[in-house]
């Protein structure tokens, strides 16, 4: 088990190193000119050269790479071109927003997805099942931002017109400041983030569950007189969840995409919005910082998922 974990961690570190290399190549080697951007359009060649030198962009590439890695390891992500604030600070200030959104959304989609999936598997061809199939089709066909738009239109605008101001159309309230407000502002974003993925997970759980429920050992459990609930949840769910957990590892990357879009639609000042803004302002250090942090997140999350997988399915643990 330990060897398994060590191997995974090493692989994760390898991936991070490759990503940092790719980021370096993309931003430092590829043809474009940040110095000119910062210096402004009216700058003279001397000013541009000066900026270049200040940024360290005129040094030989291996040098730049070395200092890049060195700074990374020290947690120094540079300074924003746009606001001159340290990138680390910017990221840290926005992290709680994104974390609230992502975690809440993930919990919602897992609970809803797995819940509906199990219910559908227990009653095949029922309303729950067919409804779930329709929802999944809708979920696959709709981009996240469209879901957000619809929710805003129906649950904010329409209700607002009717005088009910239950769901705000955007903005963020910190948890520490006002828990109720925090949840209220995040409700629609959570649903938006979760909706599309929940649909897929419900079908995945359903088909996996159906397969497991058809197995002989389930029949044995039933014939032993265990209640249906116990059979399904205690015996069936554990094995049925393994493909779901596998899928989860893959979807973590896509989760980030959903976060970016949702923050945009609801005006949440999170990392996603920061990333998007930094493209418009060509704020390279921020983009680099965001990409690296996001990749680190994906790697760590994948590691946790692998761990969960090994815990769920004893067969996976190499003995």
């Amino acid at each position: 088990m330990v060897r398994f974990l060590v191997r995974r961690v090493l692989f994760g570190l390898l991936v991070l190193w490759i990503v940092s290399g790719a980021v370096f190549v993309l931003f430092f080697v590829a043809p474009h000119d940040p110095a000119r951007l910062i210096a402004g359009r009216l700058a003279t060649p001397q000013t541009v050269a000066l900026v270049n030198h200040r940024l360290g962009l005129d040094r030989p590439l291996p040098d730049q790479y070395a200092s890049f890695i060195w700074r990374l390891l020290h947690g120094d992500l540079g300074y924003s071109y746009y606001s001159s604030a340290p990138v680390r600070q910017l990221l840290a200030s926005r992290l709680p927003v994104t974390a609230s959104l992502a975690l809440g959304g993930a919990v919602l989609w897992l609970v809803a997805g797995i819940g509906v999936g199990v219910a559908a598997a227990r009653r095949p061809r029922s309303l729950v099942d067919r409804g779930g199939a329709v929802l999944m089709l809708a979920g696959l066909s709709m981009p996240t931002f469209l879901v957000g738009l619809l929710l805003i239109y129906f649950l904010f605008f329409r209700l607002h017109l009717a005088g009910i101001d239950l769901f705000p159309p955007g903005g963020y309230v910190p948890l520490t400041q006002d828990p109720a407000g925090w949840a209220q502002h995040l409700l629609l974003p959570w649903v938006t983030l979760a909706a599309v993925t929940a649909a897929t997970y419900s079908r995945l759980t359903r088909s996996s569950m159906l397969e497991v429920l058809g197995e002989d050992y389930i029949r044995t459990a039933r014939s032993k007189g265990l209640t249906e609930d116990r059979v399904v949840y205690r015996h069936g769910l554990r094995s049925a969840l393994t493909p779901v957990v596998t899928q989860l590892g893959v979807d973590l990357g896509t989760l980030l995409g959903g976060v970016i879009v949702t923050e945009q639609v609801f005006g949440l000042p999170g990392l996603g919005q920061l990333a998007w803004q930094s493209v418009t302002t060509q704020d390279q250090p921020v983009i680099i910082g965001t990409v690296l942090v996001a990749s680190a997140f994906v790697v760590v999350a994948n590691l946790l998922v692998d761990l969960g997988y090994a815990l769920l399915d004893p067969r996976v643990r190499p003995s």
Binding site: A30, P143, L146, L204, S207
Partner: protein
Amino acid sequence: MTVTAPGQAAADAAAARPGAVQGRGPWRLAWERLRRDPVAVASAVTLVLIAVAAVAAPVVAHAVGHGPDDQYSDIGLTPAGLPVGPSRTFLLGTDNLGRDLLVRILYGARISLLVGVVATLLATVAGVVVGLAAGYLGGLVDVVLARFMDMVLSFPYLLLAIALVSVFGSSLTISMLVIAFFSWAAIGRVVRGQALSIREKEYVEASWSVGSGPLRLMFVDILPNLLAPVLVLATLLVPAAIVFEATLSFLGLGVPPPTPTWGGMLSDSLAFYQVAWWFPLFPGLALLATTLAFNLLGDGVRDALDPTAGRATGGGGR
């Protein structure tokens, strides 16, 4: 001297009918099943109509007299400067700059279909090549490629798009490349799995024992047998690609304005939905109709190719 089998008599009788010995292979049977599936047929027809409409966009623009980028600030906007609703002049209304929404939607269809289909096609070719190599060659090649594909699949694509756009600027090419990048690994993984299992089949062994070389094996025995799941997956990846393109355009990372894109239109409509319901509605409907049709068609294709498969999830990302 021959040894005949029972049932031969019935088979002989059937063979006596002219044209009866042609034989119906797996593709032919699948096609017939597909033809009889009303949902799949409806979806296919819808897609053909959308494609025709996209191709005919200039014709429609000419007929209505409005180009996709023409801003009619006098008749296309209210005195307050807000979009005008559906009318005789503007069949689906106008957008925030007084442009004809119908014409823009049709031109937007071009982008969506182009990016969706072309990117998926590129991805399919790449995925099949890599997947075949990994599955057939096995060993170290397989391990490396499989790991690589897993890595690619768990990648945050939107972030990648952001990174690329910030360096190279947004364009049609970047959109297509990013989308192809996320699709190919999904196909590659499926192809690899299929190749691995087909490799063990007895008919592959038989071909080998007859003296076939690896190339012949690959093209005659392995490839035709793995095309079916690839076809299903590809059909289901197109809507994912279209959705992704719409997301990119929504965020301003896709094809740059003033080219009309459905995502771009939806993004612009965000500030106006309270006063111009048609502005988000029609592009949204167009997007939904296209992706829904592709998804339903993909489901139909999957059912036609393998009627025994239980109802499972669709493929691809979002």
